[in-house]
């Protein structure tokens, strides 16, 4: 008897653990496993949408990991194209991959980008004993010898982290960017470890990835790639003030299916704006190292179009796409 009961318990526990889907009015697809940035976006914004009475029922979060978001993207394009109750979490990684045709044949115009509600600013970081004091020092060194500075970042070659220093170099008039060394490791913290250890000369990543290491003094940030200095990190200068006109932020936002009506699209834009304006979201952003970055509706769509075009051009230059 005893073990039968235990078996039943074990089996039902497992079944309860793995069965997640049920029908709700609004669904938010996080194209990654629980715990990551996209998952956070869905869960946090989904909760606020309900708390702020923007939707009638709690938002159901579905995790659909695979191909860096490509599986979810294809799912939405092919099977959910007219679903007006669907949001999908997205970020700079989504547009970078779309620009590089990393989602198979999918293109960025197969969905509508409806809004961004926060951003993780890009940073370029060196070890504390690095000879580089400013972004300018580093750019000069690379201009003199392109192979002298190797970057480590958390994305694969051609990914968003790789693009950041290349954009700075392009802004500085350096054109031989194919010669700049980059290694893609497993995440931002790993990239910092390689830089502190002296294996690479600089790390390129997001603000949220470097917070602990900045506070402990093991690394120095040469520049933050946002429009203005980030509150709480006021001593880190922007690339812009150092004369390099580059803004590269890892935005957090959503896309919706292409086939929904303009009214439905605008309704989502309004709802997302409401979340962005709420005190609760501002709190959540501060707690997670996100800087304010709100763009919704048509504005956001045209901004995304520009970003995709720029990324595509840069990717061709460094040879990750033909």
């Amino acid at each position: 008897m005893k073990f039968t009961a235990l078996k039943a318990l074990g089996t039902s526990a497992v079944i309860a653990l793995v069965s997640t889907s049920s029908a709700w009015a609004t669904e938010c697809i996080a194209p990654a496993n629980p715990g990551g940035g996209w998952d956070f976006t869905c869960r946090q914004v989904g909760k606020l949408l309900y708390d702020l009475k923007q939707v009638d029922a709690p938002v159901q979060v579905t995790n659909m990991a695979g191909a860096g978001g490509g599986l979810a993207y294809n799912h939405v394009v092919t099977e959910r194209n007219t679903d007006a109750d669907l949001l999908v979490a997205a970020s700079s990684a989504t547009t970078t991959r779309l620009a590089q045709k990393a989602f198979g044949d999918a293109t960025a115009d197969q969905v509508r980008f409806v809004g961004a509600i926060g951003a993780d600013p890009g940073v370029i970081v060196v070890a504390k004993d690095s000879p580089f004091q400013t972004l300018g020092d580093m750019v000069d060194a690379i201009k003199a010898d392109p192979g002298s500075v190797a970057f480590a970042g958390g994305s694969a070659a051609g990914g968003f982290d790789h693009m950041k220093p290349l954009q700075v170099l392009k802004a500085a008039g350096f054109t031989d960017i194919g010669k700049v060394k980059y290694i893609g490791v497993d995440g931002g913290a790993d990239a910092i470890t390689q830089t502190v250890g002296g294996f690479t000369q600089a790390m390129t990543g997001d603000m949220s990835e470097i917070v602990g290491f900045i506070q402990s003094g093991e690394v120095r940030a040469l520049a933050v790639l946002s429009e203005d200095r980030v509150p709480g990190f006021d001593d880190i200068p922007t690339a812009r003030e150092q004369g390099f006109d580059v803004v590269a932020v890892n935005w957090r936002g959503f896309y919706v299916p292409k086939g929904i009506s303009d009214d439905e699209f605008s309704a989502w834009a309004t709802k997302i704006q409401a979340v962005a304006d709420s005190a609760e979201w501002k709190e959540a952003m501060a707690a997670n190292g996100l800087a304010p970055f709100t763009k919704v509706g048509g504005d956001f769509q045209s901004w995304v179009d520009q970003v995709v075009a720029d990324t595509e051009a840069l990717s061709k230059e460094i040879g990750v796409i033909q």
């Binding site: 073990f3 235990l6 078996k7 074990g10 526990a13 497992v14 079944i15 653990l17 793995v18 496993n33 629980p34 715990g35 990551g36 998952d39 956070f40 979060v61 995790n63 990991a65 695979g66 191909a67 860096g68 490509g70 599986l71 294809n74 590089q100 990393a102 989602f103 192979g147 190797a150 694969a156 070659a157 051609g158 990914g159 790789h162 060394k181 290694i183 893609g184 490791v185 497993d186 995440g187 931002g188 913290a189 790993d190 910092i192 470890t193 390689q194 502190v196 250890g197 002296g198 294996f199 690479t200 949220s208 602990g212 290491f213 506070q215 402990s216 707690a287 997670n288 190292g289 990750v320």
Partner: protein
């Protein structure tokens, strides 16, 4: 005495009725998840994350629950390794090599008790080491660059040849197949996809969990069907569980050595528990020599990998907490949880959030004792789950495998792939090709290639860079010794016949 006051703080946080209850629940669920093929620590923890969020647990309570599941799964993985010859999760793979022969010889109880105690020793020592030296140890990671990591993986591969007792060529073939499979997916160094045939499901590469469940569990189903259960592993009986004190005592040095090596393997980001159990098994096999009877069902053969992988599980927490670098798949998931709970792991975590760190360490100590109780005196409860009649058990195992693999990415593609691996495992068994090296190839190949390519990028293609640091040089010497020494020794010594005593005893 700072350590004691810190521990007092930790126990103050951890010894509440809620956290204790969570620890017990976590250990129980973890052991079951670990014991079921297809569900390992990483998807066990991942599955539980939404539950911790919906329960509204605070940071400490959530961490206690999830790390109890993590440690529990590390303990539980050995149960199906020993009883079914199917590893419950990937670090328990090495435990099949001696655990299953022991079970076949009617000594399943001894194998479970010894490996349970070895798990306890490994996990306990690792937790103590974590408490005492974590902040200093974190600096080891700064010493490991691409060249050092490549040498480390080369060391692992160099000792692979000695693993298959009968045929080196077949082991080599199997590991090359594993390496080839590891090439599938996004190439981190060029940004291009390789061997995916344009299929997005292959873009992230093949999850080794899919391979391991296919090669071990699904192929077991095929063998079972073919032989009507006669030569299948399923259905091993467990008699009375007694504690083989003398035999356990004889493995004391094995347990201690394996704990130390496992812990270090865990501390190095990227290496993780599987490498820990593999290296400790090969090390002990080397120390014992041909007379040790490794592979035929000896106590040391289950003590070494279990102490090693549990110590590695503790070691993997070091880089996660102090650097924010996950040392294994599971700690990567835990790291994500920490971030969502608004805790930033990194060099300042021990100073900024002592209640989280020391609460975690205290609850790990508690979880260890709970797990020892569950896995030695009470092990029969979990064994019962696996010793129902084969006709009932095997469909159950198959079902859980399918559910577990489906939960990885929610796509049927992984299920098809799992069956393909099942067929491959069946053919390999028929041809007497070992399947463990295939998994190791998949597991290590990706990291090994990446680090080699990184090294070549950084050094402009200068291969001497691979030998340029003292750490790398030492690892290369160890690798060369591990590779050449067995051939040399085999020439000198005539291989003695397999000791009969190890089987009869």
């Amino acid at each position: 005495m700072e350590l004691l006051s810190n521990l007092a703080l930790g126990f103050g946080v951890a010894l509440t009725p809620l956290t204790l209850t969570l620890a017990v629940i976590g250990c129980f669920l973890g052991t079951i998840i670990g014991a079921l093929p297809g569900l390992g620590p990483s998807n066990g923890v991942a599955i539980l994350i939404p539950i911790t969020f919906s329960l509204g647990l605070d940071a400490t309570a959530a961490l206690v629950l999830l790390t109890s599941v993590y440690y529990g799964a590390m303990y539980g993985g050995r149960i199906s390794s020993i009883l079914l010859n199917i590893p419950g999760d990937e670090p328990a793979m090495m435990t099949t090599l001696d655990g299953y022969p022991m079970a076949k010889a009617g000594r399943a109880g001894d194998a479970l008790v010894i490996s349970g105690v070895a798990s306890f020793v490994g996990a306990l020592l690792a937790t103590i080491a974590l408490a005492m030296v974590a902040p200093y140890l974190a600096r080891i990671a700064y010493k490991f660059g691409p060249a050092e990591y490549f040498a480390l993986y080369a060391l692992a591969f160099a000792t692979l040849g000695g693993m298959a007792s009968n045929n080196q060529a077949k082991a080599a073939l199997a590991s090359f197949i594993g390496l080839a499979i590891a090439l599938i997916g996004l190439d981190n160094n060029s940004g291009f996809y390789r061997f995916t045939g344009g299929n997005l499901h292959l873009a992230d590469g093949i999850d080794f969990l899919v391979a391991i469940v296919g090669l071990f569990a699904v192929s077991e189903v095929f063998v079972f069907i073919e032989t009507h259960g006669k030569s299948s592993a399923v259905g091993v009986k467990l008699g009375k569980v007694t504690i083989p004190w003398a035999e356990m005592w004889s493995t004391r040095w094995t347990m201690l050595r394996s704990s130390a090596v496992g812990f270090i393997a865990g501390v190095l980001p990227g290496a993780g528990a599987s490498l820990g159990s593999f290296m400790t098994y090969m090390m002990e096999k080397g120390i014992a020599g041909d007379k040790g009877g490794f592979g035929t069902g000896v106590a040391k053969g289950v003590a070494a990998p279990e102490a090693g992988n549990n110590a590695a599980a503790g070691g993997a927490l070091v880089p996660m907490l102090t650097l924010g670098v996950p040392g294994s798949g599971t700690t990567a998931v835990l790291l994500a949880v920490l971030m969502t709970l608004n805790i930033t792991p990194g060099p300042t975590l021990f100073a900024d959030r002592p209640e989280v760190v020391w609460g975690l360490i205290a609850s790990l100590l508690i979880a260890n004792f709970v797990l020892l109780a569950m896995n030695v005196p009470m092990v029969k409860i979990f064994v019962k789950i696996l010793t129902v009649p084969p006709a009932v058990l095997l469909p159950g195992v198959t079902m859980v495998s399918f559910v577990g693999i489906y939960s990885l990415s929610g796509s049927y593609f992984d299920l098809v792939l799992m069956i393909v691996f099942g067929v491959m495992g069946y053919v390999f068994r028929k041809m007497d090709i070992p399947t463990v090296p295939v998994i190791l190839g998949i597991l290590l190949g990706y990291q090994m290639e990446n680090n080699l390519r990184h090294a070549m990028t950084l050094s402009d293609g200068d291969w001497t860079y691979l030998f340029s640091s003292p750490i790398a040089a030492v690892l290369w010497i160890a690798a060369a010794t591990g590779f050449i020494a067995p051939m040399f020794l085999r020439g000198l010594l005539k291989r003695p016949p397999t000791p009969e005593s190890a089987i009869e005893d």
